[in-house]
């Protein structure tokens, strides 16, 4: 066996091991995205369970804010539907709608001192706000996982393995610009 043959074998071994490493890496990334989605899902479910309690508590004091309460419940149903289907594209707008609804609800609640003093309301407001923060954090976490996956499958040499074994891109979870806008408290009371 000549030097050339040995060098060829060495190169083939390196390429093969590198290929296996890239494949395993892409599998890890794919499952990382799935896990990051599950991490958001857990919190969405928790908030889904808390919202009816909040709306029920508010109903006792806010007889004239049915529209605000209905908007929250409608958005809650849309989020649940997107969540159950695992539809990242639909979750973004539904989540934005729910956040706007909740923002309005908490802003309107300022006008009801008895509601504000209610312990259950205080507890639920703290709990839901905490969940909102965690959902926002985990959305960033999910998007980073998805972005890492999407960058890898377009980079060389990963693209070769990704095309060969059909590793696809992950959808980013985007909230609309409207959701990021501050709640117009004045407009709510006009």
């Amino acid at each position: 066996m000549g030097m050339g043959a040995i060098a060829t074998i060495a190169v083939i071994v390196i390429v093969l091991v590198y290929g296996v490493m890239i494949y395993n890496n892409l599998v890890t990334l794919k499952h990382g995205v799935t896990k990051a989605w599950s991490n958001i899902d857990v919190l969405l479910k928790q908030r889904h369970d808390e919202l009816p309690k909040l709306v029920e508590t508010c109903k006792q004091y806010m007889q004239y804010e049915q529209e605000t309460l209905e908007r929250v419940m409608k958005a809650r149903a849309a989020v649940a539907s997107a969540r159950e289907k695992g539809d990242v594209g639909a979750l973004g707008p539904a989540e934005s709608e729910l956040r706007i609804g909740l923002g309005n609800l908490f802003a309107v609640a300022e006008a009801y001192p008895q509601l504000k003093a209610n312990e259950t309301f205080q507890h639920l407001q703290t709990r839901i706000s905490g969940l909102e923060n965690s959902i926002a954090d985990r959305r960033e976490f999910y998007n980073e996982a998805a972005n890492n996956n999407n960058v890898r499958i377009e980079q060389f040499p990963d693209i070769v393995i990704a095309r060969l074994f059909r590793f696809g891109p992950a959808e980013l979870l985007e909230f609309s610009e409207e959701e990021k806008r501050d709640v117009d408290v004045k407009a709510l009371f006009s």
Partner: protein, 320 residues
């Protein structure tokens, strides 16, 4: 044989020398191969791990980026420089026959914190691959580094200011070498490991237990209890007055319980149980750590190719 070309020396080497040489080269090639891929894989793991925030980090294998902080209580003090730190690793070596041999070495396994803008997490560094930012090497002539110049100490004997180390001798004439690596409070910290939130709800009392405890406490001060709840002033707490006291105690218990719940979570980061997942701690920023691992991977592959090439060349000279 000294002046002969290498190929001639190899052709003239006896069987034992030849096989020893081949054995060493195989070992070096294998180490280079392993090191190359291991470091490349580590770099990719770091690049691909999304960064979590401590308050909402998912349970499991996560990457955290923050600042090192010491835990409250007994401080961790680096044994050689007596610097108050979060983590240390040191070695004392003595020169024997022109070579440095380790006399003593130790790695800290004390807990410390990593903090980001959302919270704090306890780090258990046991089993971590640590890349600290601070490394000091100095020389002296004893088993203890007596040449350390120390600023004044605090009340508990902990070093307050930075430590200045002066070598008592030059690198080549000293008999001892001291090496110390540190992570100090305030250092930026990159951490990759198993995140777990400990829920110590089991250690908390239930609301009914807390209500009962509050009532017991009130009963001990009978006069105050009567003043507060004996509304008809007949010297006896009847059923409705007692129910009033119980309701108030229950409200107080609910408040205390809510407070306990708010403080019950302790986040921890430790070595993952799965052996294929690295546990990394570094004061280097992520991109520099990745760059370092990529250079080490490159070094490993160069080692592999050099040893492999030499192995093949010797084999063609003597075996084929």
């Amino acid at each position: 044989m000294g002046g002969a070309p290498l190929s001639v020396q190899i052709r003239q080497a006896d069987e034992v020398e030849l096989w020893l040489m081949l054995g060493v080269l195989v070992l070096v090639a294998v180490i280079g191969f392993y090191l190359g891929f291991r470091r490349l894989w580590l770099a990719r793991v770091i690049e691909d791990a999304p960064t979590a925030r401590i308050r909402s980090a998912p349970q499991g294998y996560v990457e955290l980026v923050g600042e090192a902080k010491a835990m409250a209580g007994e401080p961790i003090v680096a044994p050689l420089s007596k610097t108050s730190c979060c983590w240390y690793r040191y070695s004392i070596e003595s020169k024997r026959g022109g070579e440095w041999r380790t006399v003593r070495k130790q790695t800290s396994d004390g807990l410390f914190l990593v903090a980001d803008e959302t919270g704090e997490c306890v780090v258990d560094p046991d089993g971590a691959e640590v890349t600290p930012g601070t490394k000091r090497v100095w020389y002296g002539d004893g088993d203890e580094p007596i040449t350390v110049v120390m600023p004044p100490r605090g009340a508990e004997g902990v070093q307050l200011g930075p430590v200045v180390m002066r070598s008592s001798g030059a690198m080549f004439t000293s008999t001892h070498r001291y090496t110390e690596e540190l992570i100090v409070p305030g250092d930026p910290l990159y951490a990759l490991g198993e995140f777990k939130t400990l829920d110590d709800i089991d250690h908390h009392q239930s609301r009914s237990e807390m209500t009962a405890a509050i009532l017991r406490e009130w009963k001990r001060e009978r006069r105050r209890l009567m003043d507060r709840f004996d509304h008809n002033r007949d010297g006896v707490l009847d059923a409705s007055e007692w129910e009033g006291a119980r309701l108030l105690a229950a409200q107080e218990a609910a408040r205390d319980h809510a407070e306990q719940l708010a403080h019950q979570h302790v986040h921890t980061l430790r070595r993952p149980q799965a052996k294929d997942r690295p546990f990394l701690l570094s004061t280097l920023p992520q991109f520099r750590l990745v760059r370092r691992y990529r250079w080490e991977a490159f070094g490993g592959f160069v080692l592999f190719l050099a040893a492999g090439g030499l192995l093949t060349w010797i084999s063609t000279l003597r075996l084929w």
